[in-house]
Amino acid sequence: MPQAAIEVENLVKRYAGPGGGVLAVDGVNLRVAQGELFGLLGPNGAGKSTTIGVCTTRVRPTSGRIRVGGVDVAAEPPRARAGMGVVTQFRALDRGATAWENLYFHCRYFGWPAAASRRRADELLAQFQLADRRDATPEAFSGGMAQRLQIARAVAHRPRVLFLDEPTAGLDPQSRMAVWDLVRGLRAEGMTVLLTTHYIEEAERLCDQVAIVDHGKILVCDTPARLKQSTGAGAVARVSVEQTGAELEARLRALPGVTEVEPTAEGYRLLAHAREGLAPAVAAAAQGFGLRDFSLHEPSLETIFIHLTGRELRE
């Protein structure tokens, strides 16, 4: 088996605290191949940041073995850090320093000589469309600009593995697209990327592999396409009714092509083989139950998350 860029074996992390502490990660196994763009998708508190924290030497694992770029992160933190770039969940740029200095000094921390660091800072500002903000301090930056600078800084020392913790949280759609493009560009150049997100769309459209995490465990891990197929559904319908009940549920279940019926807050969610004929069939079945709303969707990673956990991932 070729060496993976990131290998996590049986990772357990329990934070100390009252009542035995918090079990944040409960037996996670991951293998991220060289050059892969890997996404951890999960709700708040799933243990995504903790997993990244362990990989980036900032959280000590309770047990488990973690290697990044072939280096054991617990045994040799400085050497592991030398080969990775990290963007944390905090927007944590050096505020007393200019955009250029943020990049320049980052290179110096990694042992780069002055001239090479200077060239690298200039080059990155141009590449990340920040050249006109060269001498501005990041306080004055928009969220999108600050995030671009963070990513630029994380890759400044040419790491082979990049960790991005919720890279687009809180960004407007346009800035989010810009970050996606940057990440795709890095991937095209051979960078291995592990990112976390709770945006379904981000996981689906950006990642090669997605692991769905909840309560510190990986529920499933596969390509987005295969994950979506795994429910066997060709369509998902949301039905909102005034009165729910066993009779309506049974009627919906009996409809041709419907494989699953799950109760929701407003009514039911149906998984079906195909979308054709579903709308009129549901309308007929819901006759007398006060049908309020009906919508049809393609199955998404959200479908499988709900399927596995019975809950919705909050967008």
Binding site: Q3, A5, Y15, Q34, G35, G53, T56, T57, R58, V59, R60, G69, G70, V71, P77, P78, R79, R81, A82, G83, M84, V86, T88, F90, A92, L93, D94, R95, G96, A97, E101, N102, F105, H106, R108, Y109, F110, G111, A116, R119, E123, Q127, R153, V155, R158, P159, R160, G185, L186, E189, G190, M191
Partner: protein, 281 residues
């Protein structure tokens, strides 16, 4: 460099990086701090000189002119007593102003320190860099304050350096103590508590730090003389007193040197342990 360069390392590069140079990373951190200090030099000077400036102006220039005089000790006037004391405050308080306050804010609020924590050197070195850089800041503060306390007083100030070696050793050890104390406080205190720290820690340290009187004279209030031995500023003041104004009574050199070495080492250990605890879960 050519324009064909890519962001990532070429795929054929060896997977495991060589052992990084800790010294170069440390140097990088120092360069960053130096750049920010240079940018901030004006506010550094202002915050360093305001307190001693007004103190010397009122107590050694105005007070004698309006007939309100402090008597001094023996042949040494009050202005001479103050020289080592005010320089000592300047040194020690750089540790709090330049290390503790920014660190407390970076650790709990802004997380600005994140990028430096990801530098390829052991976390203890990153913490030690804070102490090491602040040594230079403390020395700079001493150099800024000294001419003021020397030239402003209306009465003549008698400074006499018996041993430059002793002076250098005292200043360096004092500066280390200041930085290490700053690191310790910075890792223990939340930003909201800084005001509180000034009230309950800084104020007693200053007033009980043998700044305005030599330690020997506290012999008349024995319990206080013994209690002040827990205050690191006492050793800084007394050390500088021995080095700058040897005619004024002061502690024996072995006593303040031993105490300064112990406090520098003890606070370094405590501060580095606290730093590690704060940044690694």
């Amino acid at each position: 460099m050519s324009t064909t360069e890519t962001l990532a390392a070429p795929p054929q590069a060896p997977a495991a990086p060589a052992r990084p140079s800790y010294a170069r990373a440390f140097w990088g951190l120092m360069l960053r701090d130096a750049r920010l200090l240079r940018r901030d030099l004006f506010s550094f000077v202002v915050r360093t000189i305001m307190n001693p400036l007004f103190f010397v102006f009122i107590f050694t220039d105005i007070m004698p002119k309006i007939g309100q005089n402090f008597s001094g000790v023996g042949a040494a006037n009050f202005a001479t007593i103050l020289v080592p004391g005010l320089v000592a405050i300047a040194i020690l308080f750089q540790g709090i102003m330049a290390v503790a306050m920014p660190l407390s804010i970076e650790l709990s609020g802004t997380h600005e320190i994140e990028d430096r924590l990801m530098a390829p050197l052991p976390i203890a070195w990153t913490a030690f860099e804070k102490i090491f850089f602040s040594v230079f800041q403390s020395i700079l503060a001493a150099l800024v304050v000294f001419p003021m306390v020397y030239f402003i007083p209306a009465t003549p100030v008698h400074v006499q350096v018996a041993s430059w070696w002793l002076l250098a050793v005292v200043i360096v050890l004092s500066s280390f103590t200041a930085g290490a104390l700053g690191l310790t406080i910075g890792t223990l205190v939340k930003p909201q508590q800084i005001g509180m720290i000034f009230a309950v820690v800084v104020t007693p340290i200053i007033f009980l730090g043998c700044v305005y009187y030599p330690w020997a004279l506290l012999g008349r209030v024995k319990w206080l003389q013994i209690a002040t031995l827990a205050n690191p500023l006492v050793y800084v003041s007394e050390g500088l007193r021995a080095a700058l104004t040897p005619a004024v009574p002061h502690m024996p050199a072995w006593a303040f040197l031993a105490a300064l070495v112990l406090s520098a080492a003890g606070f370094s250990w405590w501060g580095i342990a606290g730093f590690r605890r704060r940044v690694i879960n």
